[in-house]
């Protein structure tokens, strides 16, 4: 029975239904015969859906247009300077620099600690009570409001022996507010995300990877370093980017731990250390200050800064999407990875 025999002759088959016969495509959803309750629910769903679309589009377009209206190149290069004619005076150079500094500090501390903790929890985790305790503590931090974390930070950095991390007043009182302080607390903010993503990544790796490595004579430590961690690089990166997003969007910690002056104030004369010991602002506190709720009342600058912040969030979102959809790895598809990390990504929204 040759394969050719299985396929019928083209001439023998009727190619299509005869002309003129009805060809009905699948009819659209008809709800006329549904019970009333169901029809009401259906209408509600549509109403809510359309409303959601409209609100979402309204917000996005509003911020876009307001931002474009007020965004000027000079804003990027000038430091904040209050004046009567607010459209001319100053820009948000310092806040942008401040955002960068805080973000880099926070991530620089959170990533290594987070990856190490996550690895320990997933690969070792002995004794069990210690692992549970660490897990609970991480959960608590993840759920704690950022104001409370800021209070922690202030408490710690106001101690006398940590005065070198910020400035000490003549009377001996430690100011407690500096980029170091803010960065450290931001690291605590981002820590749960990095830990969770590392853990998830490691637990999803199939055991056969580890077995293969042991069979070649490697110890668990080397396996982790050489095989497992490289395998979950996208997960770690995603956790890092999520943490970054959370850091960049936070205002409360900045306002409490970075002082209320909008420009960078150095402490001492050492170049980098001086800035880090000093105070400043970030885009978020800049926006807050320039809104009617803050001191200055410069809505235009606030809109411009908000636009910049939104662009950064957009880019970060894009990076997360790219990372979660890139599937060179063996297990799962991009979608399953995205679905797995969705609970983490949802924590991006905690402020």
């Amino acid at each position: 029975m040759a394969i050719a025999d299985l396929t019928p002759n083209a001439a023998d088959r009727a190619p299509a239904p005869p002309r003129g016969s009805v060809i009905a495509r699948a009819p659209r959803q008809r709800t006329t015969a549904w019970p009333l309750v169901d029809r009401v629910a259906y209408a509600l769903c549509w109403a809510v859906g359309v409303g959601l679309c409209l609100i979402a589009l309204a917000i996005v377009l509003f911020m876009f247009f307001k931002g474009i209206a007020y965004l000027r190149p000079h804003l990027f290069v000038e430091s904040p300077a209050p004046s009567a004619v607010q459209s001319q005076s100053g820009g948000f150079l310092d806040p942008v620099v401040g955002t960068l500094i805080v973000a880099m500090l926070g991530i620089a501390i959170a990533m290594p600690v987070g990856v190490a903790l996550g690895t320990w929890l997933a690969e070792y985790g002995r004794p069990a009570w210690l692992a549970r305790a660490v897990e609970s503590v991480i959960e608590i931090i993840a759920g704690a409001p950022s104001v409370v974390l800021a209070l922690f930070g202030l408490l710690i950095f106001s101690q006398g022996y940590l005065g070198f991390l910020s400035q000490t007043a003549a009377s001996g009182g430690v100011f407690g507010r500096s980029f170091f302080a803010a960065g450290a607390v931001m690291a605590v903010l981002a820590l749960p995300l990095v830990v969770a993503s590392t853990r998830e990544g490691l637990t999803r790796l199939p055991d056969r990877l580890r077995e293969a490595s042991y069979a070649l004579g490697r110890t668990p430590a080397t396996t982790v370093r050489r095989v497992l961690l490289p395998a979950i690089r996208p997960d770690i990166a995603t956790g890092g980017v999520l943490g970054l997003g959370r850091i960049i969007g936070d205002t409360a910690i900045i306002t409490i731990l970075l002082g209320t002056f909008l420009d960078l104030e150095k402490v001492g004369s050492v170049p980098v250390l001086g800035t880090l010991r000093g105070t400043g602002s970030t885009l978020t506190s800049y926006i807050f200050s320039n809104s009617p709720a803050g001191e200055g009342n410069a809505p235009g600058k606030a809109y411009a800064a908000a636009f910049l912040l939104l662009m950064i969030v957009l880019i970060l979102n894009g990076i997360v999407t790219w990372l979660t959809n890139r599937d060179g790895q063996s297990d799962g598809g991009g979608l399953s990875r995205a679905l797995r990390l969705l609970p983490l990504w949802s924590r991006l929204t905690w402020r």
């Binding site: 029975m1 299985l6 396929t7 019928p8 088959r13 009727a14 299509a16 239904p17 016969s21 009805v22 060809i23 009905a24 495509r25 699948a26 009819p27 008809r30 015969a33 549904w34 019970p35």
Partner: protein, 300 residues
């Protein structure tokens, strides 16, 4: 060099021997086969319930079912056999308009239930009268009772609350479980999660669920392909018992199963209905060459 493919030279009508399993199962299979055969031969003449006329079905631009005409009768079991891709599952799904949930499906021709075009019905009414059991058992994540009562509470006029269970619903559920042959096994605790049952039990639960709404036509899409022989035998007995009250259409890959349960057999190949006839005629004396080839296992 790959091993040579054995070609079966077909130069005479093949004789299809009735299946004689090794007889080491708990259910003596030979008695099942004879019971089924005797039950089958005593079936009275059947009443036509559905009719498929010149049906064409397409997904997108690809015509999957081409110009098929078939009757579906109550009192008998219609088996649709054929290789994969022959369109038999699509044809089955079109009988209760399940093809419509796929975007881009098109059809031409008519399908009627008791003389009325099914596309004139409200689709949910139709699906209550023509229900379907799928290949993989798919019980809902609820208790056994709620699974079987699921379609019942959809009937207008009946309450669907879990606490407030009317005796009517309880009776209907017990009745359906009896008809599906599952009652004795689960009567102990009907509140158990349905997902804890074994594969065969889950499939019988799905059949009970379909029967609870008292359908007029029951469509079965390879119901036993995922099951062990004992569950298969139980379900095949069930099918033969049900055919008096419900018209049954079963799609199956398993020629022996078709032989055991079917009264009429429709053989489809690449979307076309190649041959339709009684099961004796198809299995013993197929008229079309293609049917003969398929029955004898030349392809599949």
């Amino acid at each position: 060099m790959p091993p040579p493919v054995r070609r079966i030279a077909v130069d005479r009508d093949p004789y299809v021997a009735p299946p004689r399993p090794a007889g080491n199962g708990a259910v003596p299979a030979s008695s099942v086969a004879t019971r089924l055969r005797t039950a089958r031969t005593s079936s009275v003449h059947a009443r036509e319930r559905m009719r498929v006329e010149s049906l064409w079905l397409a997904y997108g631009d690809n015509w999957v079912v081409r110009d098929v005409t078939l009757p579906v009768r109550q009192g008998e079991v219609l088996a649709m056999i054929g290789a994969s891709g022959s369109g038999k599952t699509t044809l089955l799904r079109s009988l209760n308009r399940l093809t419509e949930i796929t975007a881009g499906a098109a059809r031409s021709g008519s399908i009627t239930l008791d003389g009325q075009d099914i596309h004139g019905f409200e689709v949910n009414d139709l699906r209550r009268r023509v229900t379907m059991v799928f290949q993989q058992p798919n019980p809902f994540p609820m208790s056994i009772f709620d699974n079987v009562a699921y379609a019942l509470s959809e009937r207008p006029g009946r309450g669907g609350r879990r606490r407030r269970r009317s005796t009517a619903i309880e009776e209907a559920v017990t009745d359906a479980l009896h008809r599906a042959g599952l009652y004795d096994e689960v009567a102990g605790d009907l509140e158990r999660s349905a997902l804890r049952l074994s594969g065969g039990q889950q499939q019988r639960l799905c059949i009970a669920r379909a029967l609870a709404a008292e359908p007029e036509v029951l469509l079965l899409d390879e119901p036993c392909s995922a099951l062990d022989p004992i569950s298969t035998a139980t379900i095949e007995e069930l099918i033969v018992e049900l055919r008096e009250s419900v018209a049954i259409v079963i799609v199956t890959h398993n020629l022996q199963q078709a032989f055991r349960v079917a009264d009429h057999v429709a053989f489809m190949h690449l979307g076309e209905l190649v041959e339709y006839g009684t099961s004796e005629q198809i299995f013993d004396r197929p008229t079309v060459e293609r049917t003969r080839e398929y029955i004898s296992g030349a392809f599949g």
